[in-house]
């Protein structure tokens, strides 16, 4: 197990190195001059050149990259070109909002998706199963930004149950609608996936044996069905969590949440390359770590899996 963890961590470093190289190259290949963006349109060419020099943007790309990576190893993600503040504290200041949205959204997915999937599997072919399928399709089809606007309009503007976007204290009041918007679409995936895996498990001989032994259905469900059907769900949780923690821009934009997704998209528009790079690497790190954690959890859930 320890060798597996070490191997995964080493691969993680390689993956992050590859991502940093590709992202660095892409941001600098993007047409647009960050120095001009900082200087403003009224600045003379001399001033723009001076700013470019101050930022080190007139050095060869490989020199800029190696300097950046050297600083990164010391925990220095650089400074925002525009706001001139250190990038890592900027990202960390916004991360709690994204983390709340990610965890809240995931909880909504699981709280809606898993019970619905179980009931749909046990009542296969029933009206509940058909309605659950339809609702799943609707949840998957509804664009998140549209759903967000609808919820804001009816539940924040028309009936003032929630704030009209933004973020403040208490955080939960501001996060309920965004988490629901994020989770309701993904819940459909969990419903369909869990229904399918439970149906597979219910057909297994050991379930017939458990019933023959006289075990009650709830005991069969929680002791035999769910542990054997849960692995694909765990995989999906890992994928979703990693994706959400990288910043769900559309939800953050719709609700005006100051998360890292919105920060990254704003930085792209402003050619604030240190923030773009910092956010991409931070998100990549979270995705890789969450995948490692999920992979390790398989061994806890299924004793047959050993590393």
């Amino acid at each position: 197990m320890l060798r597996y963890v070490i191997r995964r961590l080493l691969w993680m470093l390689l993956v992050l190195l590859g991502i940093s190289l590709i992202t660095y190259a892409l941001t600098y290949l993007m047409p647009g001059d960050p120095a001009r963006r900082i200087a403003g349109v009224g600045a003379s060419a001399d001033v723009v050149r001076s700013i470019r020099h101050q930022l080190g943007l007139d050095r060869p790309l490989w020199v800029q990259y190696t300097t950046y990576m050297g600083n990164l190893l010391h925990g220095d993600f650089g400074y925002s070109y525009l706001q001139q503040v250190s990038v890592l504290p900027l990202i960390l200041a916004r991360f709690p909002v994204t983390a709340q949205l990610a965890v809240g959204g995931l909880l909504v997915e699981l709280l809606i998706g898993l019970p619905t999937g179980i009931i749909a599997a046990y009542k296969r072919g029933s009206i509940f199963d058909r309605v659950a399928t339809l609702v799943s399709l609707a949840g998957l089809s509804a664009p998140p930004f549209w759903l967000g606007l609808i919820l804001l309009f009816f539940l924040a503007f028309t009936i003032p149950l929630f704030p009209i976007g933004g973020y403040g204290d208490p955080a939960i009041r501001y996060m309920i609608l965004p988490c629901f918007t994020l989770g309701v679409g993904g819940a459909a995936v969990y419903t369909r996936t869990f229904r399918s895996t439970i149906l597979d498990v219910l057909d297994q001989p050991y379930i017939r044996m458990a019933r023959a032994k006289g075990l009650s259905e709830p005991v069969i469900l929680f002791r035999h069905v769910i542990p054997n059907a849960i692995l694909p769900i765990v995989t999906q949780i890992g994928i979703d969590l990693g994706y959400f923690l990288g910043g769900v821009f559309i939800i953050e934009q719709a609700y005006g949440l100051p998360g890292i997704g919105k920060q990254a998209v704003d930085a792209i528009g402003q050619l604030d390359i240190p923030i773009i790079l910092g956010t991409v690497l931070f998100a990549a790190l979270l995705i890789v770590i969450s995948n490692i954690v999920i992979d390790l959890s398989y061994a806890l859930i299924d004793p047959r899996i050993r590393y």
Binding site: M30, P31, G32, D33, P34, R36, R37, I38, A39, G40, V41, G42, A43, S44, A45, D46, V47, V48, S50, I51, H53, Q54, Y79, L82, Q83, Q84, V85, S86, L90, A93, R94, P143, F145, W146, L149, I150, L152, F153, A156, F157, T158, P163, I164, G165, G166, Y167, F249, I250, Q253, A254, Y255, G256, L257, P258, K262, Q263, D266, I268, G269, Q270
Partner: protein, 548 residues
């Protein structure tokens, strides 16, 4: 200055589309009742989509940060926003307007002796010298350094050959003298820009890069209280402001990350007072509804801007290097139609200088005439037209307007493929020789002097890689005349000649002026006094009144 072009992703357009679907069900509230409110105090809340690009006086150069600089800092001179056109300069931290001598090259100021930073320290002439040198210091990365390079000794200071700028001198504790290389009647306006603010050297040296966003120190009527990056900026009234009880509201709050559609809902509920995202703070999908609403319509405030939206034709790129082709395009554009396309948020124009710009004079060299346009194209050797690429950035209404222009050009045989790109990319492309044959763009005033509409964007000096002279226009004869006007010290005589300069440039037809921007804003019902200034500040928080 070009208004900061905010890069809105396609999802923002989708957000607007979502609102259109929703509001087309006629569930938008109508006839919101006005209520009587007691005036004074309160917190002015302004919503913005994006975070501030900078809160450093030396680096703030867009319409979002400008009004906050004006609230937090003082300059030597400022705009008299509450009287007349709001474009006249009056003393701010200076005790009086300067004595201008030496043929317009020397500006001598007597400073007020009661201007204090928020920490109580008195601002003296040495602080002003430091503040101005900081703008010129390459380490500050101030784009505005361009405006200050005409000061004696500035070039040597920037090159690192001098420790100080010899043309900026403190005379005693409360006297300041600035010497220019050449006479510059626009220099007072330059001093009124945020870059001309006095800042606290001790604070900057103590906090370094975190000074501007976390520990600013100004002298203005509103003090910095808190700034959560990406969330909220809060200013509170300065009880010791030298100007006395300036400012009616007790606090100013900028809420960040609020889309235009959400800001609109918040304003209807009085949870916000303004949307600060010009030029389109009222969602385009709701614009006509708001104007026609019996209650909301009365609250809407309108102000023509000192700005021109125009088509730029690159005089170095075939076939736009041909004067007849450029003139053909001038005749081909139906400007009132384009104004209707943006719901009237513009005023059609025939001149490059806007009507509110001092020195404006009307003329119309190219009245709309597609038949004449085709005739000129034929004369130029293009009887069947030609193919080209039309560029536009992707912010606000620009893609839609560009699409309409492309259709109008097709009407005279010019087949233009439309290319829409983010603003930062367009900035680079415009500054690349031979890259952009024809494009849609705009110029907003840096200050209300007509030279600002020529020197930065249509002079020979600006036709170099990396600058904003989109047509790459350079006519030495026109340039010489513009320079002659720039250094004239008799302002009245100078302004009388600017229509002639405008006409000379338009005879070369490097640009097609289409309309002057008109800003509309919907304030909350609690904002009992609100206006949009024609000055570069646009919003003047200290003049607004909010009912309790």
């Amino acid at each position: 200055m070009s208004i900061q072009h905010r890069w809105r992703r396609s999802v923002t357009a989708a957000l607007a589309a979502g609102l259109v679907c929703m509001l087309s069900l006629q569930i938008a509230p109508r006839g919101v009742q006005a209520q009587a409110h007691r005036a004074g105090g309160g917190t002015l809340i302004i919503d913005f989509i994006a975070d501030f690009s900078s809160l450093d006086t030396a680096r703030c150069y867009d319409t979002q940060c400008y009004p906050f600089m004006h609230a937090m800092y003082d300059q030597l001179v400022g705009y008299d926003t509450e009287h007349g056109t709001g474009l006249n300069l009056i003393p701010d931290a200076a005790a009086a307007m300067p004595r201008i001598t030496n043929g317009g090259r020397t500006f001598t100021f007597k400073l007020r002796q009661d201007v204090r930073f928020w920490n109580g320290r008195l601002a003296t002439a040495d602080d002003w010298v430091y503040s101005f040198e900081r703008v010129l210091d390459p380490k500050t990365q101030a784009g505005a350094a361009s405006f200050w390079q005409g000061i004696v000794g500035a070039k040597e200071f920037i090159a690192g050959k001098a420790k100080h700028v010899s043309g900026i001198k403190a005379i005693g504790k409360f006297g300041l003298r600035i010497d220019l290389v050449d006479p510059d009647p626009t220099f007072l306006y330059v001093l009124a820009m945020p870059f001309g603010s006095v800042v606290d050297r001790n604070q900057i040296q103590k906090y370094g890069k975190s000074y501007a966003l976390q520990h600013p120190m100004g002298t203005g009527p509103y003090m910095f209280k808190d700034y959560k990056i990406g969330q909220r900026l809060t200013l509170v009234k300065n009880p010791h402001y030298f100007g006395g009880n300036v400012g009616h509201v007790d606090a100013i709050e900028a809420d960040i990350g609020v889309s235009t559609e959400t800001a609109y809902l918040r304003i209807l509920k009085n949870q916000a007072d303004l949307d600060g995202d010009f030029p389109t703070p009222i969602p385009p999908s709701e614009f006509n509804n708001v104007l026609s609403d019996p209650v909301l319509g009365k609250r809407v405030v309108r102000q023509v801007q000192i700005a021109t939206q125009y088509i730029a034709m690159n005089v170095l790129v075939k076939p736009f290097d041909n004067l007849l082709v450029r003139r053909a395009v001038e005749y081909a554009i139906n400007k009132p139609l384009l104004v209707r396309l943006v719901n009237g948020r513009g005023q059609a124009t025939d001149t490059f200088l806007p009507p509110l710009m001092p020195g404006y004079g009307h003329f119309n060299l190219y009245p709309y005439n597609p038949a004449k346009a085709k005739q000129l194209l034929a004369q130029a050797g293009y009887p069947n037209g030609f193919s080209t690429t039309f560029y536009s950035d992707n912010s606000s209404d620009d893609p839609r307007i560009s699409q309409a222009i492309v259709q109008q050009l097709a009407g005279i045989g010019i087949k233009a493929a439309l290319k829409v790109l983010p603003s930062p990319t367009m900035f680079t492309y415009w500054g690349t020789k031979g890259k952009v044959p024809i494009s849609w763009t705009a110029w907003y005033q840096d200050f209300p002097d007509p030279n600002d509409f020529f020197e930065p964007i249509l002079s020979c000096a600006s036709a170099v890689p990396g600058t904003f002279n989109e047509p790459w226009y350079c006519n030495p004869k026109v340039d010489a005349f513009a320079h002659k006007l720039k250094i004239m010290t008799d302002r009245a005589a100078r302004l009388r000649l600017y229509p002639q300069l405008d006409r000379m440039m338009m005879e070369d037809a490097p640009v097609v002026p289409v309309f002057n921007s008109v800003f509309y804003a919907l304030p909350s019902s609690k904002l009992t006094k609100f206006f949009i200034s024609a000055s570069p500040w646009t919003l003047v928080f200290q003049d607004y009144v909010k009912a309790a």
